[in-house]
């Protein structure tokens, strides 16, 4: 056993390494990982398949300050943001109207609206100055293995060698799958999202959303509720205000779309034509259409995060909390921790799976695995009750507020009594109990989380 280990090390030592660390994928995760390694003076190569980093990426619309500051420190001040998002609304849609809640604070804000093309460009400029060797236009086809260790990557043109490879290649991570670090995702494990970037005059956006001219405030809205006739589709719409564009998109569970044979663009068109949203985007011109997958695998279906000579991070590891629309912060911080682990491994010249599992320990200590653990069952609980959440309650809210607001010259007591009793008449009582139990379990999950 001892002898085998020695030969292993000798064989690995034989390789002529091009770098200390190779990072695959130049999104927030890979960039953060590469920066962490470069800051310690080690040689790091960052590879990306796109001609321009960021041009394959799509998200709702905002990146978060705390994680960005943690990674980019003082450079954060130069972030090319379009608006600071400080107003958050949640609207429950019914076919003709909505019920919504808004939270806003003009002093404190965490979310910054930035287009991905500009965000990645900005991040790449910073890390190049810190010594990261960035190679765009470079598709990694395979990992190079030797004695069960990942020792490099194979691109279309050549092989690059490094004792550690960090996989930050996004939700579809063909490399993590190729290594059998994760199982094949099922349609239920992902959300398919489609979005339109809608161009409007800056002044018009400011008028419609009551925004200041200096770009220091902005709005995001989340939309819940299925169109009439569409049942059992777990979906959510989103809107973000940018400088002179509005991002309007929708995400839905892929399995639900397939089961119900609904194209995601139909849901996007439903939102665009809804009474609540249509006036907001009126006369807007679609500048770009995009689509992307969001992993919802969470804690329960987390891949194996490390193997000999390799670490998986960001979307590739399924680090997303879709209840709170968090993902870019998970990417930035998990990338940083992957970089930190790589540095420890280089220090100790130990690249074994056992040693690299330090990464998992670091994640456990951070908000990433704490939150993913806390929310490990919440998405499934909400998903199971989606017919209630998406179809039943938005319409019950409509009925409630109709009574509250309509001066229809009828007895209020009678109307409210009927409304209250309707909860027991509309559906099987079992459904109501199940909804209540779900809500109770979600609260318990959060209260007794990590």
């Amino acid at each position: 056993m001892f002898f085998i280990e020695i030969t292993c090390i000798i064989n690995i030592m034989d390789i002529n390494y091009n770098a200390d660390v190779i990072v695959v994928g130049a999104g927030p995760c890979g960039i953060s990982a590469a920066l962490e390694v470069a800051r310690a003076g080690k040689k790091v190569v960052l590879l990306d398949r796109a001609k321009y980093a960021g041009s394959k990426n799509m998200y709702g619309g905002a990146i978060y300050k705390t994680a960005l500051k943690e990674v980019f420190q003082d450079d954060f001040d130069t972030l090319p943001y379009e608006r600071i998002i400080n107003s958050h609304s949640w609207a429950f849609l019914n076919d003709t109207g909505s019920f919504s809640l808004t939270y806003q604070d003009s002093c404190e804000s965490e979310a910054y609206a930035v287009k991905r093309f500009n965000l990645e460009k900005w991040m790449i400029e910073i890390i190049k100055k810190k010594g990261v060797y960035f190679a765009p236009n470079t598709l990694v086809k395979n990992l190079v293995m030797q004695n069960e260790y990942v020792v490099g990557v194979e691109t279309e043109l050549e092989k690059y060698y490094a004792p550690i490879v960090i996989l930050a290649d996004g939700v579809n991570s063909l490399l993590a799958k190729g290594l059998n670090l994760r199982e094949k995702y099922k349609p239920k494990d992902v959300i398919l999202s489609a979005k339109e970037t809608i161009k409007l005059d800056k002044k018009i956006i400011e008028e419609r959303f009551n925004l200041k001219e200096d770009l220091t405030n902005g709005v995001t809205k989340m939309y819940l509720g299925n169109p009439d006739g569409i049942k059992n589709v777990f979906m959510m719409g989103f809107l973000y205000t940018f400088k002179d564009t509005i991002m309007l998109g929708v995400g839905a569970n892929l399995s639900d779309l397939v089961q119900n044979k609904i194209n995601i663009n139909k849901l996007l068109e439903y939102l665009k034509n809804h009474n609540d949203i249509k006036p907001l985007i009126k006369d807007g011109q679609t500048l770009e259409y995009s689509a992307h997958l969001i992993p919802e695998t969470g804690y329960n279906k987390m891949p194996k995060l490390t193997d000999n000579g390799v670490i998986v991070a960001g979307d590739a590891a399924g680090f997303v909390n879709s209840v709170h629309f968090e993902g870019t912060n998970y990417a930035l911080i998990s990338g940083k921790l992957a970089g930190k682990t790589a540095l420890c491994a280089l220090e100790n010249s130990n690249f074994s799976q056992e040693y690299l599992s330090l990464y998992k320990k670091e994640l456990d200590k951070s908000f990433i695995l704490k939150d993913l653990y806390t929310y490990r069952n919440i998405i499934d609980r909400l998903y199971d009750r989606r017919a209630s959440l998406m179809n039943y309650y938005p319409y019950k809210m409509k009925e409630f507020f109709k009574i509250v607001t309509s001066a229809n010259c009828k007895s209020k007591s009678l109307q409210f009594r009927e409304y209250f009793l309707s909860f027991f008449k509309d559906r099987n009582l079992k459904e109501l109990i199940k909804d209540g139990y779900m809500a109770f379990r979600c609260v318990l999950d959060i209260f007794f989380g990590r």
């Binding site: 796109a50 001609k51 960021g54 093309f117 194209n263």
Partner: protein, 98 residues
């Protein structure tokens, strides 16, 4: 919204996107497996209308040039008939405003 109307709507939206077109397909379908597939969800679900059916040959036509590289078809294809890869280096969709 009718399916035909939706296809047209997607087609119009695809016109807003910039592509750096690859000279070979990155999506290879196994027509034998497709022939046995009853549902063919790829025809309805793809957000970029990549998949259609040739009415003469009954084969799946793949317009890989329109692909947004989301990866949905890779997961939902019930026959596992799609060999899904990334386009060559620097090729494929170029989102500039997303």
């Amino acid at each position: 919204m009718e399916d035909k109307e939706n296809k047209k709507s997607i087609q119009d939206k695809l016109a807003t996107i910039k592509y750096n077109c690859d000279n070979k397909t990155h999506l290879i379908v196994d027509q034998k497996k497709c022939a046995k597939c009853k549902d063919k969800p790829c025809l309805a679900i793809c957000p970029a209308n990549v998949y259609s059916i040739d009415e003469n040959t009954n084969e799946i036509v793949v317009q890989y040039e329109n692909c947004l590289e989301c990866g949905a078809c890779r997961l939902f294809c019930p026959k596992g008939a799609i060999d899904w890869n990334y386009p060559s280096s620097g090729c494929g969709v170029v989102f500039k405003n997303s």
